[in-house]
């Protein structure tokens, strides 16, 4: 077998985090009953006209600046014409001729090797609706809620050579976009979608092979599998002396295989032309400067600051800053309780564990930093013990409960009455003569069993340290 190289470029669609749609005032909120986030404009009713949401331009500029792009200060919207029921106007308002950003790059690192991936362009466009096939009625129904949700499409240069590089690129993009606050980038909800353009060629060749475009991957893992699958499929074809057909393919992650959707010959002519309903967008130097000045602190700067300001290790700071959401919680909670290391521990250990358990993305974290700060204060004051705090934190994580209220309601406070604790301990000692004998015979570990029994009898509402101390006193009397 000859030696091959894979050449990959990505088209990433990213839903912007604006409150309203790109050309009307409808909400962009995910979910909602079908066709409830719809007005005559986004439903494409005859006679309606689009009015550009300025925030979309702001976000696209912010992304363009962060991805080191040239900004097209006189840009235009174009109509992409095609018939499909999820597109009520039968054209999508997009940008072809003068996209808002061009010629950028983003730096990635795979196994310690740094690489720069070129950004060909970023353009603004509107999302389409969703078709749902109703098996019962055997018909297709359409939900226009997503119609007109603003997107940016980030088109990379064909600079990636492996699935690892693609994942690193996507992770970097996601982190940047989340940091900017321009998108929540949730793949499950479709707010980040990647199409993969892939071709293979013999190592050493400077000519690009015939590429295919693959759609419909909804997780990074699926993307990695799709890349492996497509790479192998193309290499097999070439090894068999066949050629790759330029086509669009749909990835089926359940079957781990892709299927041809349409070939280049069937490719539609979208008859792009400038949308006459929208005047060109002029981005003044002042506007651009304002956007640049308002760019938030990005990850590298934040990481360095955490080490410097909070005295965290680089390792911990890296974990905290991986997601803007976690970093924001960290800073807010640390500011309230003034215990950055403690906050950091809760986030790095418990939060990360729970994210894994619940299969959640850090962007989905819902609990408020105030509650974490309160929990730390309760622990600090000795009102609750650490195992209780762990349980309470789970409640904060899942339901964002107020720990003060919750501890009170559930009666989780440590029993402050030493007399009660003492009598319980005495009962335990009396009931476990063997353990007491073991302890006196030098098996100091036996005390652990007695502490456990005491905690159980106290229903957890005792501080294990205090129990330990009192037990030792009683045993040594």
């Amino acid at each position: 077998m000859r030696e091959y190289e894979t050449v990959i470029g990505l088209e990433v669609h990213c839903e912007l985090a604006t409150k309203t749609k790109i050309f009307c005032g409808c909400t962009t909120e995910f979910g909602g009953e079908p066709n409830t986030h719809v007005c005559p404009v986004c439903a494409g009713m005859p006679g309606t006209l689009p009015v550009l949401n300025k925030q979309v331009v702001e976000y696209a500029l912010s992304a363009g600046v962060a991805l080191n792009c040239d900004i097209t200060q006189y840009c235009k919207f174009d109509r992409k014409n095609y018939f499909y029921p999820d597109l009520p106007k039968a054209y999508q308002i997009s940008q072809l001729y003068l996209p808002i950003c061009r010629n950028g790059h983003v730096d990635i690192e795979v196994d310690g090797v740094k690489k720069s991936i070129g950004i060909h362009e970023i353009h603004m466009e509107e999302d389409a609706g969703k078709l749902i096939h109703d098996e019962w009625e055997d018909c297709t129904i359409v939900d226009y809620n997503r119609c007109g949700v603003p997107l940016i499409e980030i088109v990379s240069e064909p600079d990636m050579r492996s699935a690892d590089e693609v994942i690193a690129y996507l992770e970097k993009l996601r982190m940047i976009l989340q940091y900017l606050g321009v998108s929540d980038c949730k793949m499950q909800e479709g707010s980040l979608r990647a199409d993969i353009n892939l071709s293979v060629r013999e190592v050493g060749s400077d000519k690009l092979g015939t590429r295919t475009e693959m759609k419909n991957m909804n997780s990074f893992k699926a993307i990695a599998r799709a890349i492996e699958g497509e790479m192998n499929r193309q290499i097999e074809l070439l090894e068999d002396g066949k050629s790759v057909t330029q086509e669009t393919r749909r990835w089926d992650d359940n079957k781990c295989a892709s299927y041809a959707m349409r070939s280049k010959e069937d490719a539609q002519d979208y008859r792009y032309f400038p949308d006459p309903d929208l005047p060109p967008v002029s981005i003044s130097d002042a506007w651009l400067e304002r956007v640049k000045a308002a760019q938030p602190e990005m990850r590298d700067a934040k990481l360095a600051r955490y080490v410097e300001e909070y005295g965290l290790t680089e390792h911990d700071a890296a974990i905290l800053t991986e997601s803007r959401k976690v970093a924001d919680i960290f800073e807010a909670a640390a500011a309230i309780c003034k215990k950055p290391k403690e906050v950091s521990n809760w986030l790095i250990v418990d939060t990360m564990r729970l994210l894994k358990v619940h299969e959640m993305d850090a962007a989905d974290l819902k609990f408020s930093p105030e509650h974490l700060a309160k929990l730390i204060a309760l622990l600090d004051a000795g009102t609750i013990n650490r195992p209780t705090a762990r349980d309470v934190f789970e409640k904060i994580f899942t339901e964002n409960v107020d720990p003060e209220v919750y501890v009170e309601e559930k009666g989780l406070k440590i029993e402050a009455d030493d007399g009660a604790l003492k009598s319980v301990i005495e009962e335990i000692v009396a009931a476990n003569p063997q353990s007491v004998a073991d302890y006196h015979a030098g098996k100091k570990k036996a005390i652990g069993f007695l502490v456990g029994q005491t905690m159980k009898a106290m229903k957890g509402k005792a501080d294990p340290g205090t129990v330990n101390k009192m037990l030792a006193e009683i045993l040594n009397q």
Binding site: P46, G47, L49, P50, V51, N81, A90, D269, P276, P279
Partner: protein
């Protein structure tokens, strides 16, 4: 004199004075429509019930003094059937929208209603405003009240004919390449195509978005000025709308053209122009000269290229604008179909008429890859040159004057089979849309067939006041001619 023969402003005055109630006005108009519309077919929808209900509301507002600043309060109006009216059938005179009731009002409807207007019905047009004769309507052709063997012009033929036949005091039309001015000329009434951007397009079902503009058709210049005053204005819902400095258009109703510089492009008097039309137009120029205007002939470039550029740009935009009519969401849907492609194909095949299909195909062609530069981009370049030509002319003149159309009203059926001939009829009007300028057509004579002749005046962008003053001054020199039918001879 019957109240239906009054001008809109005259009726408005009588209503304010309590001499005529709004209900009486509405009933008188409904009566006329019943009597005459069988003959002319101006209306697609007559809103009898809604208009009577609305009349009572408006009367209350007038009595309460809430509409003292609205000279048109209580005056019924006819609306071209491509302007959306909430809950009222809006068909664009097409089968494909035969059941379409918009869920919202166009901005112009909101503005008119705020000024106390009573909408009496929706008027006929060429299907999707594509045509110059109102013969392409799915709901049958409208006939010219001056002579029922003649077309009323188009595409706002129903609007112009209704105003001429006194089936409406005034109407709103739309003008993409002459669709207000040419039917006004053919029907002997006055029509104003405002500067692009001065009147909101929100709710106007688009034919060619970069050229479409809503404007008034009425029996005289004063009414047009008053209606324009009511509907003009910046609209946040239309990104192409523009805020003007001065909206007091009726202030320009002054009989004074002293020192006004008027230019007549020689190219507007050349081949293809009916000699009787030419004579009447030149006579109108002479009248203005006698009143103190300075009139000159001059050469203007690109006149011959306006029509091809117009049909490329308008068709391109139309092919995209009309794609949404696919049988999926509203409007006509073919009853029998196999699959999605079949729904699209059959619905559109059965739902659209010939002229609309022709223009959509031209449009799809000029936008297709490989032809885009040769046709669409070239047409945009011509458009830019035409605009430049006007800019140069307006450095020397305040007003450009010429015929509205090369002929008076054509015989029914004459142009339907010869689209190219029909397109050439737009020669004097399309360049005004390409340059985004205001233009007005008003009557300037009657030809030997007894048909009205229109003169067109064109102004600089947003110079409607100058245009209104010149047109008003010319209008003072002649009396309003009513078609034979209304005089009771038909």
């Amino acid at each position: 004199m019957e109240i239906t023969a009054l001008t809109a402003l005259e009726l408005g005055k009588k209503i304010k004075a309590g001499e005529v109630t709004v209900e009486e006005a509405v009933k008188a108009q409904l009566e006329k429509i019943k009597e005459r519309d069988g003959m002319y077919n101006c209306y697609v929808t007559v809103m009898e019930e809604e208009a009577l209900k609305r009349a009572a509301e408006v009367q209350k507002q007038i009595d309460a003094g809430e509409l003292d600043d609205s000279p048109l309060a209580g005056v019924p109006v006819a609306i071209k059937d491509n302007i959306c009216t909430k809950g009222v059938l809006t068909t664009c005179s097409s089968k494909i929208l035969n059941n379409f009731k918009p869920p919202y009002d166009a901005t112009v409807i909101e503005k008119l209603e705020a000024a106390g207007a009573v909408i009496i019905g929706k008027v006929n047009m060429d299907e999707f405003a594509m045509g110059s004769t109102t013969e392409t309507s799915y709901y049958g052709p409208t006939k010219n009240p001056w002579n029922t063997e003649r077309v009323p012009g188009g595409s706002s033929g129903g609007a112009a004919a209704a105003v001429a036949a006194e089936e409406a005091w005034y109407a709103l039309g739309s003008d993409t390449g002459g669709s207000i001015r040419q039917p006004s000329s053919f029907c002997g009434v006055t029509g104003l195509k405002p500067t692009y951007g001065s009147v909101s397009r929100y709710g106007l079902i688009a034919y060619a978005s970069s050229l479409d503009q809503i404007g008034p058709i009425a029996r005289n210049v004063s009414d047009c000025a008053a209606v324009f005053e009511a509907i003009a204005g910046y609209d946040a819902k239309d990104s192409t709308s523009v805020k003007m400095e001065d909206y007091h258009f009726t202030e320009a109703l002054v009989d004074d053209v002293k020192g006004l510089r008027i230019g007549i492009p020689k190219g507007y008097l050349g081949e293809g122009l009916d000699p009787e039309v030419k004579e009447a137009v030149l006579a109108a120029a002479k009248t203005l000269e006698e009143k103190g205007a300075v009139v000159e002939m001059f050469d203007m470039d690109m006149v011959d290229y306006a029509i091809p550029a117009y049909y490329v740009i308008a068709s391109a935009e139309a092919s995209s604008n009309l794609s949404r009519f696919d049988g999926v969401k509203y409007g006509y849907r073919t009853p029998d179909f196999e699959d999605l492609q079949d729904v699209y194909k059959k619905t559109r095949d059965e739902g659209f008429g010939m002229e609309v299909k022709r223009r959509m195909m031209i449009g799809a062609f000029v936008l297709s890859s490989g032809y885009y530069d040769a046709y669409y981009i070239k047409a945009l370049q011509v458009k830019a040159l035409i605009k430049k030509g006007f800019d140069e002319a307006f450095a020397k003149y305040d007003i450009i004057l010429g015929p509205t159309a090369p002929t008076t009203a054509l015989k029914m059926g004459e142009n339907l089979s010869d689209p190219l001939k029909m397109y050439l009829g737009d020669i004097y009007t399309v360049s005004v849309n390409l340059a985004g300028l205001p233009g007005i057509s008003l009557p300037c004579g009657i030809d030997s067939n007894g048909l009205p002749i229109g003169v067109q005046m064109i102004g600089q962008a947003f110079s409607e006041k100058t245009l209104i003053r010149a047109a008003y001054s010319l209008e003072q020199t002649r009396s309003y001619e009513r078609p034979a039918c209304v005089k009771g001879e038909n």
